[in-house]
Structure formats: structure tokens, C-alpha cells
Amino acid sequence: MSEKTHEITCIVCPLGCRISVTTSGKTVKCVEGHTCKQGLMYARSEALNPCRMLTTSIFVDNGEWPLVSIKTTKTVPKKQVFSVLEQIKETRVKAPVTCGQILLKNVCNTGIDVVATKTVKKKP
């Protein structure tokens, strides 16, 4: 299998080390440039399977606000970020919404749910 080099900026601390990770398929061949253990761990996972927490908002009908802010319950693989956003954009919910309430289950078959991060009451 061919080798691939990923240039990564570490986000573990404000130092922001430049780390280069060489991978071959699903295995890490070489990591260079890290200066701590956490940096090494971060660079490995970032090279093999980069994931992101997604936060955005969903339309609310009849609420005191037109939107409710949301987050994914787990980090989403980077490749699927825009397809997940797409499905979230098509969703509408009805007020009231409580902070922590699940608004979408198993978004894009990822096994990840979408929950409200804010309480939106009904329009008075």
C-alpha cells in the first residue's frame, strides 16, 4: 500500500507544533515534529481518522427565537461534515425545545444524534 504524509498543526496546547505523520493504509509508519505524548496521540488520530464536533442551528417553528442551537453527541468524521450539515438544514422542529433534547437520531447513518444546546420557549 502506498505511503501518505500528513502535515498537521497540533492543537493540544498553544505551542502549535508542526507534526508530520506518514501513514500506509490504516497504520502509522512515522511521526515527526511532536514534542509531547499528547501531541503524538493527537497527530496519529488526526492522520488516521480526523473527527470534528459539529455545532450549528435548526429552524424552530413558533418559538421565541427563530433558531435553536445544536451539537452532535459525538465527533463526526471530517469527510461527513457537510452531508450531516445538509440533513440538519432540512430539519424543522416545533417549540418548545429544551436544552439537551434529542432533535435528530442517527444523523446520516453515523449512529450520532443531534441535541439542542439551548432552551427555546413557545412564542408568548
Binding site: 464536533m53 455545532t55 436544552c99 444546546t117
Partner: protein, 416 residues
């Protein structure tokens, strides 16, 4: 006009005000009231739908909205009175306030006051960008509130000036909402926001970051049509021949924040020209007895966690003051001064013995340094840092002994 007596009045119901109110209650203040001029509590947190809040404080990465809900619940549980839509019109040096709210105008006599008014965004006029005055030029925070609270998109083709965290987060937010981000322009040779945000907001979406660049012209008749960006040298002089135009309909400005202290000035509170906030003692008490300061009106914080630590301290001290109005005996006062490599340090004054928490910002990024505090040629604190950066506030503890106070020499903090 009705009059009301209150133990601790808190001006501003953002994260600082809420945190201060909770500790004021915990430390025995009977009635604690927060006045906020918005129709909601939580301040700017309500439009911060991204995560990363509360990590240092709770170990959890919450969104700004979740963090606000947590503190509002705590405030309600402690029996804090939250008055929304209540604007403080005036504050005097003997802690009398005039407040206007839905039930009318009220005069308040407070035993202690906590200033927690937050800050404002720097605008185009603070840095005097030449050009016409079209619509489509927004501060990043205003654009954030339009998108996240009111469901209004400012535009489709966006340039962002300033690489502070709000600017970076808005780049990603606009991208998620389908806008084209043509670049983030930063006058400094490095990004001013956290590396985490540079990676996750710009690099992830291939948004270019133009370092050593600034916007030198804004053009458009009704709506913004284009901006000119130019490269600058080390002294921030525009390098001729580097100008290029970027067609766009929206320019977001993320130029930093200015502490909001109009009420503080009214009360005669002395301000520090460097921080833009009040000069405070280790109790976070301002130059006016019984008036305390916390949050972004004291200094602009980079994380809500650091802000909450100090705000809780201010709330506690305000509560203690409200219970012992008896005259404080005149104590010696020594200064804590920013020396070589340090932009500012808070508190600016030390009046009592004990271990105090200090926060500072450095002037420029540096690797492998030691932050030291000296008094009378004696080293009091040595804190090694692998990396310091103006964007990251540094905190340290200082043990103040009677000997230091008696020496009447100021304590100087500097970088080696």
C-alpha cells in the same frame, strides 16, 4: 421614583455577572440582583453556539449556550434575582444607581456593586480604513448575532479582517451556512486566535490566512463591492505594489474588544489606560470603595473559564464588603507593575497580605521564558513557560508577606 436597598447589585448578566452573583449569595449577601439591559441573561454566550466553553472549569467542553444555561440555573438555585430589560442609567461613587425597567424608573441604594458590563467590538472607525461607506461592513460579533440568533445571513462572499477567535469562528460558521470565505486578513505576522481555531476553522475548509496584510480600501456604492488588501512591513507600513482587490459583498471586522466602562467613569472609578478597565486591588475592588469589577469590563479574557475564576472572586469580595460596611483601616498600598516584555498585569494594586491570583499578558510571542516577580531585588515568583503569546493570558500566584507591604516598594513582573 421608588427607592430600593440591595446588598449586592451586579451590572450585567453575562458570564461574569452570573458567576459573581452566585458567589455573592454563597458568601452571605442577602439580596443579590443582576440588572441586564437585554431581554435575556447570559450576554454574548447566547450567540456562541460553538463548543469549547467550561473546559478548564468543569472538564466538559460545552457550547456557549449550554454554559449560559448552567450558570442561569445556578443563579436561580442560589436565589439571585435576575432583572432582564433593566438598564442602569447612572452610578455614583456612593453606590446609588438609577435603573429603568419595565415597571418604571427606580433608585437603588447598594451596599456593594459589581461591574460586569462586558466589552464592545472595535469598529472600522477605530482603525480608520479608507474608502466609501457601503452596507455589508459588520463587526464579527454583530454578524454572529444576526446568524445565530436572528437567522439573517449578512452576505455570500466574505472577507474577514482580523484573526482573533471570533473572526476565525465566524469564518467556519459562514462556511457552514453556504458563504464563500475569500480569506482572513491579519496585520500581525501570526494569527491572534488560538491554534485550535486556525486549524479547525480555516485549515479544515482551505480558507486562506493572509498574514502581514491589512484591508486598505473599502469600495461600493450601496452594497460593498470590493476590498483592497495590501502587505505591510514590520512597522505596519503598506508595501507599495502588493495591493490586490477582492470582490466581496461582506467584510467582517474582528479587531479586538474594548472594555465597556461608561458607568465606571460616572462613578469616578480610575481606569488603566493599557487594559481599558478599572485599576483594581487584589480584591478586585476599584478605586471607589465598595465597587468591584470583573469580566471583560475589567480586562478582555480569552476563555470564559479564566473569566469565571476572577468573577467569582469579585462576587465573594462584594458580599463580604456588603456585610461589614465599617470603615476599613487605611492600609499601605503597593503597586504591581508590568516590566520588561509584559503588557499589563492585574491586579495593579496590592493592599493586603496573603496569596493573590495575578493575570498578565505578554507583549509578543516567545519560547522558553521565565516570568518573574521582584520586590526590592528579591525574586518572589518564577514561572517557566515553554511558550508565551499575547493571545494567551498567563496566571500566577503571588504570596504577599507583611515584609513586602512594609517595604513600600512596588512589585515588578517581567520576562527573562
Amino acid at each position: 421614583m421608588t427607592t430600593r436597598n440591595i446588598d449586592v447589585v451586579i451590572i450585567g448578566g453575562g458570564p461574569a455577572g452570573l458567576a459573581a452573583a452566585c458567589t455573592a449569595k454563597q458568601h452571605g449577601a442577602k439580596d443579590v440582583v443582576i440588572f441586564d439591559r437585554n431581554d435575556w441573561m447570559g450576554g454574548i454566550l447566547n450567540q456562541c453556539i460553538h463548543d469549547g466553553f467550561g473546559v478548564e472549569e468543569t472538564g466538559l467542553s460545552m457550547t456557549g449556550t449550554e454554559y449560559a444555561e448552567m450558570y442561569m440555573q445556578q443563579a436561580r438555585d442560589h436565589g439571585v434575582e435576575l432583572l432582564k430589560g433593566a438598564m442602569v442609567l447612572s452610578l455614583s461613587n456612593d453606590r446609588e444607581l438609577v435603573v429603568v425597567h419595565k415597571k418604571g424608573v427606580q433608585q437603588i441604594k447598594a451596599k456593594a456593586v459589581v461591574l460586569a458590563m462586558g466589552c464592545r467590538e472595535r469598529t472600522r472607525w477605530n482603525i480608520l480604513i479608507p474608502g466609501t461607506r457601503p452596507s455589508g461592513v459588520y463587526t464579527a460579533g454583530v454578524a454572529q448575532s444576526l446568524i445565530n440568533l436572528y437567522n439573517i445571513m449578512p452576505g455570500k462572499n466574505v472577507v474577514i479582517l482580523g484573526s482573533g477567535d471570533v473572526g476565525l469562528i465566524m469564518a467556519r460558521r459562514l462556511k457552514f451556512e453556504g458563504a464563500n470565505i475569500h480569506g482572513v486578513v491579519e496585520i500581525l505576522p501570526y494569527a491572534s486566535g488560538l491554534p485550535r481555531n486556525v486549524v479547525q476553522c480555516l485549515d479544515d475548509y482551505d480558507i486562506p490566512l493572509y498574514l502581514n496584510h491589512t484591508v486598505t480600501c473599502i469600495e461600493g456604492k450601496e452594497q460593498l463591492e470590493q476590498v483592497t488588501i495590501s502587505q505591510v512591513d514590520e512597522q505596519w507600513n503598506i508595501i507599495k505594489g502588493t495591493e490586490r482587490t477582492i470582490p466581496c459583498d461582506t467584510l467582517l471586522l474582528s479587531l479586538g474588544l474594548i472594555p465597556e466602562n461608561e458607568l465606571s467613569k460616572q462613578a469616578g472609578v480610575a481606569l488603566d489606560p493599557v487594559t481599558g478597565g478599572p485599576v483594581v486591588s487584589e480584591k478586585l475592588e476599584t478605586s471607589v470603595p465598595g465597587i468591584f469589577a470583573c469580566g471583560n469590563c475589567l480586562q478582555v479574557y480569552d476563555t470564559v473559564d479564566m473569566l469565571a475564576i476572577d468573577a467569582k472572586h469579585a462576587g465573594e469580595q462584594a458580599a463580604l464588603f456588603s456585610q461589614s460596611i465599617k470603615k476599613q483601616k487605611k492600609t499601605t498600598e503597593i503597586m504591581l507593575q508590568a516590566g520588561e516584555g509584559i503588557r499589563y498585569v492585574i491586579p495593579q494594586k496590592i493592599m493586603q497580605t496573603g496569596t493573590i491570583r495575578c493575570t498578565l499578558r505578554v507583549k509578543k510571542p516567545q519560547k522558553n521564558v521565565t516570568i518573574q516577580a521582584n520586590s526590592d531585588n528579591k525574586i518572589l515568583v518564577k514561572k517557566k513557560q515553554r511558550f508565551v503569546n499575547p493571545a494567551n493570558m498567563v496566571s500566577f500566584s503571588l504570596r504577599v508577606t507583611q515584609e513586602i507591604l512594609d517595604g513600600k516598594q512596588s512589585v515588578e513582573v517581567y520576562i527573562v
